[in-house]
Subunit: 548 residues, 2 copies
């Protein structure tokens, strides 16, 4: 068996590579440095195709709906650029340009015949993390034992996207098990960051981070149980939405530890702008996902919630909290500078930005870690053992088959602890609001303690996972880049504990130079409209986003 | 130890009885038959007090807000009638008229001083199932080992009700463990149905069924994990709302199997009308419970949803499904007649009422039963063993310590099965809608297979628990009463299985004569506004409710 899994994996990998047409192949791969500008000089994309892929989704759907451009043109452009992206970063699991182009042709014909788009995403390519099922294709999620199993039905999100008019063309890479914030598995190997192949693209939606980062995709679908949308967004200078559980449909996706509901995984978009993020969310909600997925709450897009924040922005009266350290691990200098930059920009714009005391975050992080390891690795190791493939190194740390399994009564206790913690957090917010006499609109915080990190170095998930425990809405906003001239080693550093020491010890201004730095904007449960509007304003103040 | 629990329980029971002032004591208790009219002839309540207790909550809050009546008067009236109710049905766990009257005085003074009510429930007494915590009082839930433990904080619902202006005066009886639909425990004994002491008041919110049924309460708060609001509502000719999980706040209530989240218990009101039910729901939602309890979804009262149904009612265009049998247990003749009565009334009124095929209900019922027993009784038996009290007979069947406990991976599988089942059910609804070309507004169904049942006979929870698995919104509507002249034994009965045989075998027209018959109106998840509006119309058509 152990020799066999390698040949099965190799065949799968070879079939993937064969899905890239010869005319989209790069003859001479770059050997080092950023590959961000490679698509422009590759000669594979025409100038029109380059322009399409460097446009916004919001502009593209407008031009697709009016017939100014065709879905064939847009789909061809993204298929080509995605093929280039894959050859540069290894971000594919499944690539199906023929299916995509057939779909694009159908949509172009539909528009010609009906003189109106089929839905709000008419003709727009959307890239999917390899958890989202498409009938007739494979979802391996990087597991060798899942190779060859064709999906017999669509995930609900697939149905919603197709109903909204999207074109699906690629399923992107994930780490084995999904439970790490880097992206490597035994079938496809490692996905790298398009800005520097020595950096991680993040994970587990790492393929989405890379492909959208280099604009081989324009809106990517990720999932997040402990940072898996937000970390790749952060490491690729993208916006990323972790909605609260129940806002977007997750039914019938593949997953590790399926049925685990103590900490819910959620799905959401990675994009270049909040406008594109909003396009995705409004488009999915317009399809009434609550009529398909029982876990989706029947809350349509609430324009009045967005407008409430826009009014506060107009009157310079946002009220925000912020913190730089969660009490467990101090972020690296570039991240501390990133948070301060956002605080300064908002304050200068006239908004109120006050320190927020992160309430018992280490407790939340510990709860999350216990849940992630609660079955002692039975589910994941069962899937590995079915092929004989070994665990990737990161997994042995997180999901250890020698760990005891939680009993059902222990699970209930953790669930009760979580509920109580969440409610205590709400009490802290109410206290804060009472004290300042204002409603707290959101909290600004790091999403990782580091800028885009070197491979195999990602150790501390707490800035992300505490928010998963709270099930708060969070939007990652790209802020700046690490700068060796500014972000000096923290000389007076006194570690808070062992993890803090490890993380801080990993900082090297030279190695991080140029790596993307992000923050997350966090709002209460199911406040997507509000948090996105605040994230948009932060992006605007930073000059990272042009609001249409 | 085993002798000791009895004296502890006896002391607690004696303290409860001592909380009833001598002047509210019944000198000569009736020996048999209905006690529904006893309060009128008891001489304990004045004519004004009788009128107050026979009013509606909607009318009372209007008159309390305008100062036409005082909270002292209303609270006194309900305390008196509740005291009478308890002596007739044994429905109390805690009774605190002095605290209530102090609160009423405060509210009367507040109104006099501020010329406006403190909130939408200003001055209105609300009765609580003995799971709801009030700081400084006990929540025993009928467990001997919990006697003497005073609560150190309020449940979130308590806070919401107090903020809305309610007066709390009583906590009512539940069965040991809450996991049965009758009401008996080792501290307080059995609660009986005010219409016939040989009938169950239902359970687990049985004390609420009895006290609101005989108008010792006007709005009662119950909880429901498998029928515990709906069954006592049905058995006492009341309306009962089982909202979907997340609509109303449950945080910081006492419970059995706390932290069990595979099938959520929810809280909701038992009332004499949908108008009063709406008053309760709108009042609680007006306090923004989502800012206190993390599980509450931020959905304020949606008047537009109610209005959509009211428009359909006005245009006689409701579209409803119905079923009489879930495929596992055929209801008794009075219930079959009840369902048919509702179908006929709606059809006669011009609405569309079509047969609905209940999708895999026995599968859902089995899922629910597995969850209820999933810890093999560890939690409940631990609580019993702490005092040495024995289990009530019903518990040994449902929660058996000899059963194996579910492993965490089995829990996840059940959770995944449940999610898939829910989504399949939604697919069936969409199919149905496509077929008929109309949106399905709700489904009419039995809530129990029997009218108000004799003690120790309640065996089949499936009509209720399948809806808990679906987490659909359900409102119980009182329909009629069993009639020995009409509801003859089903002579040609061929049982569907062992449970069906047991349940049908228990039918006796003589014994059931006069027992309340109800149906439930079921809507998709989080559709409270719509389902309540339909329930109101059904009540109106039946002549059971006067819409204000």
């Amino acid at each position: 068996m152990t020799s066999d899994w390698k040949s099965v994996a190799a065949q799968k990998k070879a079939a993937l590579e064969a899905s890239i047409p010869a005319e989209w192949r790069i003859e001479q791969l770059p050997t080092d440095g950023s590959v961000m500008s490679f698509p422009k000089t590759s000669g594979i994309l025409t100038p029109d195709e380059l322009a399409i892929t460097e446009s916004s989704a919001t502009d593209l759907v407008r031009d697709l709906a009016s017939g100014k451009i065709t879905s064939i043109a847009v789909t061809t452009a993204f298929c080509k650029r995605a093929a280039v992206a894959h050859q540069l970063t290894n971000c594919f699991h499944e690539f199906f340009p023929e299916i995509a182009l057939r779909r694009a042709k159908y949509l172009d014909e539909y528009l010609a015949e009906n003189k109106k788009p089929i839905g709000p995403l008419h003709g727009l390519p959307i890239s999917l993390k390899d958890q989202v099922r498409i009938k007739g294709l494979e979802t391996t999620m990087g597991y060798v034992s899942w190779i060859g199993k064709k999906d017999t039905e669509d995930s609900v999100l697939t149905t919603m996207l197709l109903n909204a008019g999207a074109v699906l063309y690629v399923k992107t890479s994930v780490p084995q098990s999904l439970m790490v914030c880097e992206t490597v598995n035994n079938i496809f190997g490692r996905t790298t960051n398009p800005r520097n192949k020595n950096w991680s693209c993040g994970g587990s939606s790492g393929g989405e981070g890379a492909i959208v980062g280099i604009r081989g995709g324009i809106i990517g679908v990720g999932t997040d149980i402990g940072g898996s949308i937000r970390v790749p967004a952060a490491f690729n200078f993208l916006y990323g939405l972790r909605p609260s559980h129940g806002r977007l449909p997750y039914a019938k996706m593949a997953n590790s530890m399926e049925g685990q509901e103590t900490v819910h995984s959620v799905c959401g978009p990675l994009t270049h702008s909040v406008a594109d993020m909003r396009l995705f969310v409004t488009s999915v909600l317009s399809q009434k996902p609550w009529s398909y997925d029982s876990k989706v709450v029947p809350i349509p897009w609430r324009q009045e919630e967005e407008d409430a924040i826009k009014n506060e922005i107009a009157s310079r009266s946002l009220t925000l909290g912020y913190f730089s350290c969660d009490g467990e691990v101090l972020p690296h200098p570039p991240i501390l500078r990133g948070v301060q930059t956002v605080v300064d920009k908002l304050s200068e714009a006239g908004h109120t930005v006050l320190p927020w005391e992160p309430y018992k975050h280490p407790y939340a992080v510990d709860l999350a870690n216990r849940v992630y390891a609660s079955d002692g690795g039975v589910d994941i190791f069962g899937t590995l053992n079915a092929s004989g493939e070994p665990a990737i190194p990161n997994i042995a740390d997180l999901v250890n088959p020698n760990l005891p399994k939680m009993s059902i009564n222990e699970v209930w206790q953790v669930q009760l602890d979580k509920w109580n913690y969440q409610s205590e957090y709400l009490a802290k917010i109410r206290e804060f609001e009472t004290k300042i006499g204002q409603e707290l609109d959101a909290i600004i915080a790091p999403i990782t303690p580091t800028a885009a990190i070197r491979h195999n170095q990602f150790k501390y998930y707490g800035y992300a996972s505490a928010i998963n425990i709270l099930d708060f809405t969070s939007v990652v906003v790209p802020v700046t880049f690490a700068d060796k001239g500014v972000d000096k080693v923290n000389e007076g550093f006194a570690p808070l504990g062992e993890m803090d020491k490890i993380v801080q010890g990993e900082y090297d201004p030279e190695v991080y130079h140029g790596a993307p730095v992000a923050v997350q904007i966090i709002g209460r449960r199911l406040t997507e409209e509000r948090v996105m509007a605040i994230a948009e304003e932060v992006g605007r103040l930073l000059g990272n986003e042009i609001t249409p």
